[in-house]
Symmetry: C2
Subunit: 463 residues, 2 copies
């Protein structure tokens, strides 16, 4: 197999050529030949190739592969492509592939599908599986229930250790795929979590001991509705690798691992960054051009309208500008520098909110802290730009006007930038998404107004 | 204790008041009273309070607490404060606290200290501990050796399962704090990794069986020098919870858990976001004002110089501007919109690089993809702004000039924004840090030049 792989992928083929060969093989219905190409690649290249297949090729490839293999690949490709694929094939084909995934990943994917696709896939699932998936997709992505792992081992407290060991042995085939570190002990009947048994405790004890005598009683658990921020804090406070998740009636519903929380945080940070730069929905360059351009354009359209609104302040002061044309040079500088200073403050607030170092209600604390920075940095930047203006035009009044406008606007931008994310959070809006455009528009308008109204006031000194 | 805690922290005290009380208690040398205040807080509030203590109070508090408690708190507070604290106390006090941390966290902290502080702390450590720490800090933060966990259980292949169980029982006290899921099997003498034993396999087998007969032979391992990107890919390809880490001679040196990789990725994303917004070093609002303002200012200074350079293009065309003053309204719009469009492309490239969906060498692939988006969005934005200019001033030529400048500059910004992160990566520079300022400066200069040179060319049509 390795030999065959080496023959099939000579080192001189680049990814584009390999993509073409896979396309051709799939088009001719030679799915296993296409898969040999994919298998022959290094993992890093394999991911790139799988993500760049055309929609049609990817669809036909996945339909032709054994379900288990298709599920492996589905797990590897970016989620947005996995969702597209599931919507592009027959619901019962989708169910065959989904059945091979771990239960929590299966539910995550189904939960992200549009309602109609979700309904048709759930209708094709066995009723008990569909019920399981429905229960899981009820949870929000950023709460314990939405992140937890549901393939755990639970036993009633009434068993002996010997009976537990036998139970594990009997189910060894199923359990083999699980991430077992603890055995959870539940009350028979109610399913309430009453204890935790460490796998290693089974080793150190005699088979006749009862589970109840050895288990850690009243174990720490988290509610399925706990939020990501609290869970992050929880794992910072406790050195646990995982923690059981219970519902409102204290019934065991899953296990949350430290890695699941870190993973969700990584996604959240990636999202902050993407949104702050104007990429609102996940975009991959392998997506169709029209979709990519359209999504970016919808964000740009809002921005251009806000920009025109802000620039209308300039239009209002055309007469002043016509008499002191040098001001036109400083308009973009003041606009851009306020943006920079304000965005720094936004970033610090986003970080402190994420780490739990500031509460959304602490607006006045942040304001106080940012006013200090705004005064110092506004003064320094104002002084610098005043000197540049004075030296360039030989007019100290121009320096004064430009310097004051820069100082005042930097202070405003820093104070607004620091507090805006907290206020947005209080209003249950997404701070990553709106802070940028709101900040830029307000500081642009104020900056243009400050510079041009001061210039109008002292016009006789500037001409 | 719980009762006492409730008495000591009545619900009507806010965090500032509690901070004052802790300050006062520590100043009077009543450390355990201060700690009772801290213990009485909810975990989320505790983190906020610990992070906002003054440097002096934090220092005296940590020195007064039992080492184990101090280590717990050290683990909770932001890393940058933990490092400050370690530098502010005597090296031997630092060592007492560090000794209570897991080995990998201890090494991470020591590794982040400035060289002189690192040397004095290492000199105070027991020589075997210091040697361990030295070995660990040799690894980069973003490679397997820098992220791995070093408290694992390893046994020689020659033992029987019964001997292994006895060994575990004898060391139960030490091992209790470990995250044991697998027992690693090494060749006696060389320390080479030869197998892996699952904890649960010990349960299902007879004590007289040999480790060698039951272990998974030639287990998958990663090299200590593997990079974060490859490790992320590794865990995407394998459903392992952890993987053994070996050095160049295949000796077992640690265990890397999925969560460690996710954690490092979360940090990386957070860093991308912070740097892209101009926060280069970690900043907490609890830090001294001068430090915060100074760090932000050093980034702003570079930006203001670049801004002045870009705006000098406007100064060059003052005569044109003086004759068509309406152009001044469109200068900031073109500058800002190119920035927006370019930053979107930067963000998509950063994301695709992080996910391994594009290789730094694929500049031409990205360029091709971005030119499509740049043409479509440049055309749309150009058309819109042309219409605004025409309607406002009633001059179709003005619309044409503004529209063409917007189109061409958007295309440039998108193409440059998409490829810049790849080029920076090829040049081993940090794309998150420099893409923004470079992009803005280039697109500002080109945008101003395009608008004003076109206007100069068709000046007779515009007046």
């Amino acid at each position: 197999m390795k030999q065959a792989a080496m023959e099939i992928a000579p080192a001189n083929l680049d990814l584009t050529e390999i993509l073409d060969r896979i396309d051709a093989s799939v088009a001719e219905g030679h799915i296993s030949e296409a898969d040999q190409w994919i298998e022959s690649l290094e993992p890093a290249d394999r991911l790139i190739v799988l993500s760049r297949l055309s929609r049609l090729t990817r669809r036909n490839l996945f339909l032709g592969l054994p379900a288990e293999k298709a599920a492996d690949y589905l797990h590897d490709i970016p989620e947005v492509q996995a969702l597209n694929l599931l919507q592009g094939i027959e619901p019962n084909d989708a169910v065959h592939i989904l059945d091979e995934l771990p239960k929590d990943e299966r539910a995550d994917l189904v939960g992200e599908l549009p309602q109609s696709a979700q309904d048709s896939i759930l209708a094709e699932m066995k009723s008990d599986v569909a019920a399981e998936v429905r229960d899981l997709i009820e949870y929000e992505d950023e709460e314990a229930g939405g992140m937890m792992y549901v393939e755990f081992v639970a036993v009633p407290a009434s068993l002996t250790l010997g009976e537990v060991t036998r139970k594990l042995q009997d189910n060894a085939a199923d359990i083999a795929g699980y991430d077992v570190q603890y055995i959870y002990v539940v009350e028979s009947g109610s399913g309430k979590l009453v204890g935790v048994l460490r796998l290693r405790d089974l080793l150190f004890s005699t088979p006749s001991q009862s589970v109840r005598s050895l288990m850690i009683v009243a174990p720490i658990a988290v509610k399925a509705t706990q939020t990501l921020k609290n869970l992050h804090q929880f794992f910072a406070d406790h050195s646990f690798v995982g923690v059981p998740v219970v519902d409102d009636e204290d019934r065991l519903v899953g296990v949350l691992r430290r890695g699941d929380v870190e993973n969700a945080l990584a996604e959240k940070y990636a999202n902050h960054y993407m949104k702050s730069q104007g990429i609102v929905d996940e975009e991959l360059r392998a997506m169709p051009l029209g979709l990519r351009a359209g999504r970016r354009l919808s964000w740009l359209s809002i921005n251009i309208v806000l920009n025109i609104v802000a620039a209308s302040v300039i239009a209002f002061y055309q007469d002043t500008l016509a008499q002191v044309i040098a001001l036109a040079v400083f308009l973009p500088i003041i606009s851009d520098m306020s943006g920079c200073g304000g965005n720094q403050a936004v970033a610090v607030s986003m970080r402190e909110l994420s780490l739990g170092l500031v509460k959304p209600s602490e607006v006045s604390y942040v304001l106080k802290k940012e006013i200090g920075v705004g005064l110092i940095n506004g003064f320094c930047l104002g002084l610098l730009i005043a000197a540049v203006a004075w030296l360039w035009q030989g007019n100290a009044w121009l320096g004064l006007v430009v310097g004051i406008a820069m100082m005042a606007n930097t202070l405003l931008a820093v104070a607004l930038g620091g507090t805006l994310p907290l206020v947005m959070r209080l209003l249950k809006l997404d701070p990553a998404l709106a802070s940028g455009p709101i900040l830029t528009t307000v500081t642009d308008m104020c900056g243009f107004f400050l510079l041009l109204s001061l210039a109008s006031l002292w016009l006789d000194k500037l001409i």
